[in-house]
Amino acid sequence: MKEENITTQDIIAEENLVYKKTRLMTDKVLSYCPGCGHGTAHRIIMEVIDEMGLEEKTIGIAPVGCSVLAYEFMNIDMQQAAHGRAPALATGIKRTWPEKVVFTYQGDGDLAAIGTAETIHACNRGENFLIVFINNGIYGMTGGQMAPTTLEGMKSSTTPYGRNTKLMGNPLKMTELVAELPGTYFVTRQAVHTPANVRKTKKAIKMAIKNQLEDKGGLNFVEIVSNCNSGWKMTPTDANQWMVDNMFPFFPLGDIKVDGKKVKKD
C-alpha cells in the first residue's frame, strides 16, 4: 500500500493493529511526567501478568515515591505500603498465601534508602516474590532531592553543587549488593528507553515471575534504570541520552545472577 493511499480507517482496522492498550492498565491518565520510564515499566509488568494468565492470583505492592499511585493504574489487587516497607508487606502476603503471585514496585529512595533493611532481609531470607526496582538516581516526587543512587557530582535540589561523596556518601549499587546474598535467585539490571530494552525488560520480568511460580527458592530482583527528565531538568530526549552516557557506565545493564548463580563477566 502506498503511503498516500492510507486512510484513518486503514490505520484503525483490526488487521493493521500493531499495538493496543494493555488490558490490565486502568483508564486513569498516568500521573507521570511525559518522557518518564514509569509508564512503560507499569505496562510491561501488566502485560506479563496478562499474558501468563495470572490476573486472578497476583497481588502488587505500591511504594512511596512517584509510583505511590501505581495501584490506580495497574488493574489488579494492590496494596500501598509505608515508605520502604513494601518487601515486608510482600513477605506477609507471600508467607500466608504461598500460591499467589506477589511483586513490589519500588523506587530508589524507597528501596535503597529508607527501606534498605527490608530489602536486604527479604532478599537474604530468600522470599519467593519479585522486586521491581526503578532507579532514576533522584527523588522525583518530593522535587528532585538526592537519592542513595545519585551519581558522584550529579546535581539535585539537595546537592545543588553536585554530589560530594566525601560529605554525602557514595551512590549505592543495591542490585550488585543483593546479588551477593544466597537468598536471591535471579538478579538483573535493565532499562526501558528503547524498544529493544523494553523487550529485554519484559523477558526479565517474565523470567522472574516464572521463577516465582516454580518456587525456585529465592527472591527475583529486576532493576530498571530509568530517567527523570523533570528531576534532572532536561528534555525527555536529553534525559535518555544523559542516562546512557552517565547512568549506564556506573549501573551497567545485564544479568547479574541467573538460576541462583552469579553471571561471570568477560
Binding site: 490476573e55 486472578e56 492470583k57 497476583t58 497481588i59 505492592i61 505500591a62 505511590v68 499511585l69 495501584y71 488493574n75 489488579i76 489487587d77 494492590m78 496494596q79 500501598q80 505500603a81 509505608a82 516497607r85 515486608a88 508487606l89 510482600a90 513477605t91 506477609g92 502476603i93 508467607r95 500466608t96 498465601w97 499467589k100 533493611a117 527490608e118 536486604i120 532481609h121
Partner: protein, 359 residues
C-alpha cells in the same frame, strides 16, 4: 471446662493464638515478651494448624508484614514491648488508615527511651490517644491475669475484624512474666480461602470474579480524605457505644473509688480489702477497655463518691481520662510508681488516707 495449664502470660498468648486459628505471627525479640515468639516456635504451629511464625529483622518490618497479610484477609498478630511498640506505631497508623484488622500486644516496660526491662504502665497515652500520626483510635484491651491474656487474643480478633481496625492488648511485664492457672479454649480451625474471601470481601486475595481490591491509606483529594476521616471517627464512636468493658469490686456502698487496670488492679483489689478493714468505704473500678473508656460508668457513680484515686505504674496518664469524665465534680488524684517499681497494697492505703482522709 477447657484444658487447664500453668503458664506464663506470654506463653498463654502464644498458645491462645494457635488455638484461635491465627494465620501468622510476625515479631522481633524484646524483653519482657520474647517468650511469645519462643513459645510459638517451640510449639511447631506450622504442624499443628499451619500457622506461620516469622522472626522479622525489626519491629518495623514485623508490623508491616502484619499489614500485608492482614490486607490479604488473614488473621495476623504481633507483639513487642514499649521501645519496640514505638517503632510499630508507623505501621499501626497506616493500618488504622487503611482499615486493616490485627492484634498488637504490648508487654509494657518502663521508659522513656530504653528505660528498664521492669514492668510499667507508662504507655497508656501511646496506646489510648493514638501513638502514631493522624486521628485514629484502637480498641485497647487491658488484661489483668494470665487467663485474660489468653482470652483477649480471641476477643481481640473478633473486635479487629468487626471494626476492620487494629486492636491493642496493653499488658505489662508483671502479667507477661507471671505464671497462673489458665483455662484454654478449644482449637478453632484457621479460615479457609473460601471463608476469607466471603468474610473479607475487601481483602487483596487476587482479582477473581470481582473488581480489584485496593488497600491504601492514601487519598490526595481533601474532600474524600475528610470523608474517610469522618468514616473512621464514626467507627470509633460506635466502639464507644458498644465495646466498653469494665469490672467493679465493692462499689455498691463505696464513698471512695480506686481506678486501676491490668496488674495495678490486682494490687488495688487487695488495697480495697485493707482499706475496708480500716473502716474506709472504698471500691475499685477496673477498666478492661482503655479505649473506649468506661467514662459513663464513672459518671454514674459520682453521686455517691467523695473522691477518686487513680492507681497506675506511671506518672499519671489514665487519670486524665478520669478527670475528663468527672468534669471537676469530685476530687480526683493519682498515685503511681515508675522505673519498674510496683506499689504495695499497704502503700496504696497509706497514700489514700493521706490524700483523702487526712492526718
Amino acid at each position: 471446662m477447657g484444658e487447664l495449664k500453668l503458664m506464663k502470660g506470654n506463653e498463654a498468648i502464644g498458645e491462645a493464638a494457635i488455638r484461635a486459628g491465627v494465620d501468622a505471627y510476625f515479631g522481633y525479640p524484646i524483653t519482657p515478651q520474647s517468650e511469645v515468639i519462643e513459645y510459638l516456635t517451640s510449639e511447631k504451629p506450622e504442624e499443628r494448624t499451619g500457622m506461620v511464625i516469622l522472626q522479622a529483622e525489626s519491629e518495623l518490618a514485623a508490623i508491616n508484614m502484619v499489614y500485608g497479610a492482614a490486607g490479604s484477609g488473614k488473621k495476623v498478630m504481633t507483639s513487642s514491648s514499649s521501645p519496640g511498640v514505638s517503632l510499630k506505631m508507623e505501621g499501626i497508623s497506616y493500618m488504622a488508615g487503611a482499615e486493616l484488622p490485627c492484634v498488637v500486644l504490648n508487654v509494657v516496660r518502663g521508659g522513656p527511651g530504653l528505660g528498664t526491662i521492669q514492668p510499667s504502665q507508662a504507655d497508656y497515652f501511646q496506646a489510648v490517644k493514638g501513638g502514631g500520626h493522624g486521628d485514629y483510635r484502637m480498641v485497647v484491651l487491658a488484661p489483668a491475669s494470665v487467663q485474660e491474656m489468653a482470652d483477649f487474643v480471641k476477643l481481640g480478633f473478633e473486635l479487629a475484624f468487626k471494626y476492620r481496625n487494629p486492636v491493642m492488648m496493653l499488658s505489662d511485664g508483671v502479667i507477661g512474666q507471671m505464671m497462673e492457672k489458665v483455662e484454654l479454649g478449644e482449637q478453632i480451625p484457621r479460615w479457609t480461602e473460601e471463608e476469607i474471601i466471603r468474610k473479607n470481601p475487601w481483602a487483596t486475595t487476587g482479582k477473581k470474579g470481582r473488581e480489584r481490591n485496593i488497600i491504601t491509606s492514601l487519598d490526595l483529594d481533601p474532600a474524600r480524605q475528610e470523608q474517610h476521616n469522618h468514616k473512621l471517627q464514626k467507627k470509633y464512636r460506635q466502639m464507644e457505644e458498644e465495646e466498653v468493658r469494665f469490672e467493679k469490686f465493692e462499689c455498691d456502698d463505696a464513698e471512695y473509688l480506686f481506678v486501676a487496670y491490668g496488674s495495678s488492679s490486682r494490687i488495688a483489689q487487695k488495697a480495697v480489702k485493707i482499706a475496708r478493714e480500716k473502716g474506709h468505704k472504698v471500691g475499685l473500678l477496673r477498666p478492661i477497655t482503655l479505649f473506649p473508656y468506661p467514662a459513663k460508668e464513672i459518671q454514674s457513680m459520682l453521686g455517691q463518691l467523695k473522691g477518686i484515686l487513680s492507681l497506675e505504674l506511671s506518672a499519671g496518664q489514665m487519670v486524665e481520662d478520669i478527670k475528663l469524665a468527672v468534669e471537676g465534680k469530685v476530687p480526683v488524684d493519682h498515685y503511681g510508681r515508675m522505673g519498674g517499681i510496683i506499689f504495695s497494697p499497704a502503700e496504696i492505703v497509706e497514700v489514700f488516707e493521706e490524700k483523702f482522709i487526712g492526718g
